[in-house]
């Protein structure tokens, strides 16, 4: 029955060993040759997989010791540990650790609560917060850009600051009103509290102004353009703009839109990007390069703070920036070399309404709703927003404290900070506090970036601007 010569048959025994028999021509098993037959232990597959499993466990073991998940602390009061994600405020992430670690040590000494710090760069911070929201593995306390407050509020991941929560950190009144305007949608409890406040100002190179025969900073917008033209010659330009940066673009688009009476959103929260005021505002901004030609076309590519380097190295005479002082110092430009003034407006007098010249910029601090240790987290927020800490940290980072008691400190009366404080108090407006705010930032910011790519070739028409804004608006989903 098929047992032809040469067929080998093997018998497997219960102990996984084999015996082989070679069949001869007459279908009868040949006598087993002592040489060819062995009882051999076959390594069972189980053993192999045990080896693989051991390998896998080793991998888990050796890496779980180096993976520090973001675990929230448990228990309340002293002896607890909370996790804090800080934003990159200093000149580098390493710099932030240097600034924050002593303060956190202070906090631990005062309260016994340990703080596990992680400083996250701006390209990653929003994604990390999103990931934390989705996975539920979140820190206890986090810094967020204040313009993100309404969007993050809509996800429901952040702790709402009810009156009770506010009382745990000293009350809502300790904060400056304008800063509180950027903490969430109107009519709902804030999703975060203000931590650092900044605004836009105009930085100008004193030596270059002197050389061009210009007495002082431009008083009106028309002056800025005229001065910019006087300063644009040879390899130098009047104004540096970070044209490839989405946050910079959206901020300026919003501010200039406001100057023409448009807020990008209606009072009911519907997007109104294509209103004439917004179109004019954006056109005004991109035509600084397109028709006024006081901006280097290469700036359309800038999105890693190259415009700041250009200002510091004298390639551009003016710069519209938020609290550039610390960064300029790192570039070797001392504060005596530049002056700071409010960004000029058409009317010449910055104020509210159509004379705003900045948005309320800044950083808020928020607690995740699913924190394991609300009491410890609130104590930490109270510490960070205490006048004493505010004075230290804001001085380090060159920002204005949003806590009224700390604002009076003479350290914030430097020329630069006085201008910023004034702008915040008088001519700054909060970005729209709607749930689609971060989509708005991305879509319109990208639209403006695309418009700068057109502006390198010449003046940008209102039609082009309207097209880009319409396209952005239609991509806003509810």
């Amino acid at each position: 029955m098929g047992l032809t010569e040469g067929t080998v048959r093997a018998t497997q025994y219960g102990d996984s060993s084999y015996e082989f028999q070679v069949y001869g021509a007459n279908s009868e098993p040949k006598k087993p040759e002592t040489r060819g037959v062995r009882r051999v232990r076959r390594p069972s597959p189980i053993a192999i997989f045990a080896l693989a499993a051991a390998l896998a466990i080793t991998v888990v073991g050796c890496s779980s010791s180096s993976s520090h998940g973001t675990s929230a602390g448990s228990g309340s009061g002293s002896g607890a540990t909370i996790t804090y994600w800080a934003s990159d405020q200093g000149s580098s992430i390493a710099d932030d650790y240097t600034v924050l670690n002593p303060e956190l040590a202070k906090f631990t000494k005062q309260t016994g609560i340990k703080v596990k710090l992680e400083v996250i760069g701006w390209p990653d911070l929003l994604n990390r917060v999103l990931a934390a929201t989705t996975t539920g593995q979140a820190p206890d306390v986090v810094n967020i850009g204040n313009t993100w407050s309404a969007s993050l509020q809509a996800t429901g991941a952040l702790l709402p600051w009810s009156a009770q929560n506010f009382s745990a950190i000293g009350g809502e009144n300790k904060f400056v009103t304008s800063a509180l305007g950027s903490t969430g949608a109107a009519g709902k409890p804030p999703a975060a509290v203000p931590l650092y406040s900044v605004a836009y100002a105009l930085y100008y190179n004193k030596a270059m102004f002197q050389q061009a025969g210009i007495a002082g900073p431009p008083a009106t917008w028309a002056d800025l353009i005229a001065d910019g033209k006087k300063l644009t010659h040879g390899g130098q330009y009047g104004l540096a703009i970070e044209g490839g940066s989405i946050p910079e673009n959206i901020h300026h688009a919003f501010i200039f839109g406001q100057q023409h009476g448009c807020s990008f959103f209606s009072s009911s929260g519907a997007p109104t990007f294509t209103q004439p005021g917004c179109v004019q505002g954006v056109q005004q901004f991109v035509n600084l390069m397109g028709s006024d030609k006081i901006v280097n076309p290469g700036d359309a590519e800038y999105d890693q703070n190259q415009s700041l380097s250009d200002f510091a190295s004298g390639k551009a005479a003016m710069l519209m920036w938020q609290a550039a002082g610390a960064n300029l110092k790192a570039h070797g430009m001392s504060s005596s070399q530049y002056g700071v003034a409010p960004v000029p407006v058409q009317s010449g007098v910055p104020g509210q309404g159509t004379s705003v010249d900045s948005m309320v910029a800044g950083i808020n601090i928020a607690i995740f709703k699913n924190t394991h240790n609300l009491a410890a987290a609130e104590k930490f927020v109270q510490f960070m927003t205490s006048p004493a800490e505010q004075m230290i940290l804001c001085k380090e980072y060159g920002s204005i404290p949003p806590v009224s008691a700390a604002q009076q400190d003479p350290a914030f009366a430097t020329p630069e900070l006085s201008v910023l404080r004034n702008v915040l108090a008088t001519s700054a407006v909060a970005m729209p506090q709607v749930s689609g705010e971060s989509q708005f930032e991305t879509l319109v910011g990208t639209a403006v970036k695309n418009l700068f790519a057109d502006a390198v070739n010449g003046p940008v028409s209102a039609q082009t601007v309207e097209q880009q804004l319409a396209s952005a608006q239609s991509q806003m989903s509810g």
């Binding site: 084999y18 082989f20 051999v40 693989a52 993976s67 520090h68 990159d88 580098s92 390493a94 760069g121």
Partner: protein, 293 residues
């Protein structure tokens, strides 16, 4: 019979290529060499320039030449930690991937079992999955596993190892199966007659004969894991970050440290380039065995 290339060729030999061919070869290969090497030159020369030289107009020859980027790059960014993370992840991923691919390829090559074709097709079709499709679900699954069993996969090196080893599995299984196919079954049979079980035959006979293929697959898995950006950017945190994401930190709030980026790039690339050049001969052999059927 006239030889191609005329008299000159006859002097060089009947099979020698004609002059036109030689000149074409020189020009084309020359252009391709420049094309291939230009960015490498930029990397090397920029890594030897001080910061102001890389932030200004590009100059071909660095002068002065400074090695400070190679020193500073370790402090600007925790490059050492990222290096160690990448090494751990890529080595583990490569080792486990090779092991699993060897088993699977052996099964595909030596056995005709039901579902063999389906398995091969499924495994190959995973090559066409866009990473973005399963990025978010994968991370949700890792989180769920973490919550259910306590094994931290999201944000840990383990999760990254698991992800990366799976990425290189399809190509590895395909390559190794082709390699095993080219190893004559007579070798297996001899071993089996001598009394080995199939797995013993695998380890004692097939694998030693397929060492070049296995090395190729290991290096390929290592290289794939070393270069991966998308998943590393989402699945890691401060302590587990790998080089792929870590290099982004060189552009800070004040400056883009191009010279340090280039220096770091060179240091980061050396292991994979060296490994690849060492194994490329085996890769060719493996592809010949596998692809050319």
């Amino acid at each position: 019979m006239p030889s191609p290339g005329g008299k000159a060729a006859a002097i060089r030999g009947p099979m020698a290529p004609p002059r036109s061919f030689i000149w074409t070869r020189r020009i084309v290969l020359g252009v391709l060499t420049i094309f291939a090497l230009l960015p490498v030159y930029v990397m090397v020369s920029s890594s030897l320039k001080p910061l102001q030289d890389v932030s200004g107009t590009f100059r071909w020859i660095p002068s002065p030449i400074t090695f400070s980027p190679y020193i500073q790059m370790w402090q600007t960014v925790p490059l050492g930690r990222y290096f160690v993370n990448s090494l751990i992840v890529c080595t583990c991923a490569a080792l486990v991937s090779v092991l699993l691919a060897t088993f699977a390829a052996y099964a595909v090559s030596r056995y005709r079992f039901r579902g063999r074709r389906v398995f091969t097709l499924v495994v190959l079709s995973t090559q066409m999955f866009p990473g973005i499709l399963f990025l978010l679900p994968l991370f949700l699954i890792f989180v769920s596993i973490g919550n259910a069993t306590g094994i931290t996969l999201y944000g840990s090196l383990t999760g990254l190892v698991i992800t990366y080893l799976t990425f290189s599995l399809p190509f590895s299984i395909w390559l190794l199966a082709g390699y095993f196919d080219s190893i004559p079954r007579g070798l297996d049979e001899a071993a089996l007659v001598d009394g080995c079980g199939p797995l013993s035959a695998l380890f004692r006979v097939v694998i030693p004969a397929a060492i070049p293929g296995i090395i190729t697959v290991a290096i390929y898995a290592f290289m794939t894991a070393w270069s991966e950006v998308l998943f590393a950017s989402v699945m890691t945190n401060d302590t587990t970050r790998t080089l792929a994401v870590g290099l982004r930190d060189y552009s800070t709030q004040t400056d883009v440290y191009w010279n340090q980026i280039m220096a770091a790039s060179i240091v980061v690339s050396i292991p994979v380039v060296a490994g690849f050049l060492l194994m490329q001969r085996f890769l060719v052999a493996g592809l010949t065995a596998g692809a050319v059927k």
